[in-house]
Assembly symmetry: C2
Homo-oligomer: 210 residues x 2
């Protein structure tokens, strides 16, 4: 009887928030970023989203794995619009590269958001999500190399520099997080455009066409 009363009250005073799915995914991502995949327990994810555990399972029947997958899908499309799309847009190459770095800054919350490879590429999560992450890296690399090609670099050089840029971005996120210094990421982004289309062979390696 008392249970009945409580349920009744709850339905009146808490009229089912129903926050949009996008918002739920944002909060899940935030929780994953803070605790890592393994460290983000269902309880924490429940807290982070404001949804009860059972509600989470209602939306993501596959449990935590499905939550992470949904988060990755959303992140992927956000990455596409913030980072890849500006690369594909018209205009001067260097200008497109600047648009890309601006998008990267947004996507990674100016360096505060840790790199997704770090979060979902390790341990239990790794096996499952690595193909998706690998695909994203590949798309990024190709889009970036295409711009560098338009800027006049030969194909091998463009591919090599694109790869190095991705390495620098991910490295800056990891190092910045470890040192608690956001400026590492900011500086890395600032130098990218000039470094990418600039003269000389920086970080040139025997690029393997893949």
């Amino acid at each position: 009887m008392i249970d009945l009363y409580r349920s009744f009250v709850m339905m009146i005073v808490m009229p089912a928030p129903i926050i949009p799915r996008e918002e739920v995914l944002d909060r899940l991502l935030a929780a994953f970023r803070e605790h890592g995949y393994d460290g983000a327990s269902i309880s924490r994810l429940s807290e982070a989203t404001g949804l009860g555990k059972a509600s989470l399972y209602h939306h993501f029947k596959g449990g935590k794995q499905e939550m992470a997958e949904a988060v990755l899908i959303q992140s992927g499309s956000r990455f596409s619009s913030l980072v890849i799309a500006p690369l594909r847009g018209g205009g001067e190459p260097r200008r497109r590269l600047r648009a890309m770095t601006a998008g990267l800054s947004d996507f990674y919350a100016r360096g505060q958001g840790s790199c997704l490879l770090e979060l979902f590429g390790i341990g239990a999560a790794g096996e499952r999500f690595r193909p998706r992450l690998k695909g994203a890296i590949h798309r990024f690399r190709n889009a970036l190399a295409a711009v560098l090609g338009e800027a006049g670099l030969d194909q091998a050089e463009a591919a090599s520099r694109a790869e190095n840029a991705i390495i620098a971005i991910q490295g800056a996120l990891v190092v910045g997080r470890a040192t608690g210094d956001q400026s590492v990421f900011r500086r890395t982004l600032e130098c990218l455009p000039d470094s990418l289309v600039g003269p000389g062979q920086q970080r040139v390696g025997p690029a393997e066409a893949k």
Copy 2:
């Protein structure tokens, strides 16, 4: 009575392996690398070392945290001898840089060993281990910058390039792990020496003296 018998047999047929502490730490590190800090349960660590759970707690009274700390301390001293020491040794700067990259290749098992920042910089582990990781990065950066200074670069430029090198190394590990491509790490190491002491301003940023 049957328990008594079993214990007796065990003491005879399994005469306390007593593997050296160094070996135990190596196996713990391997387990942490495979599963991440949170994902490496005591059961798994027990399996990995061949020691029973209670034995692990006998050696590391602080539990998993102390195991990780011991692993980090061992890794730190190994990093010092494999990577930092070659930088401090005499000889031509470029030669010392080559010795460093050789040491890095060893330390990271030619790219297979994931970066420790990734393993111990996230989630529950993060708060505890970040100071240690931060210190290691700092020492590495200083040792590297000193060599670049001897090679003729001014202080700001040396500091900037040293930082970029560390970023590239960590980034290559992360990207290489995500893509399952070890060659990323190898290529990055190969290019480092030339890229570090070479001409031109690559990846030059407003280096902040810290």
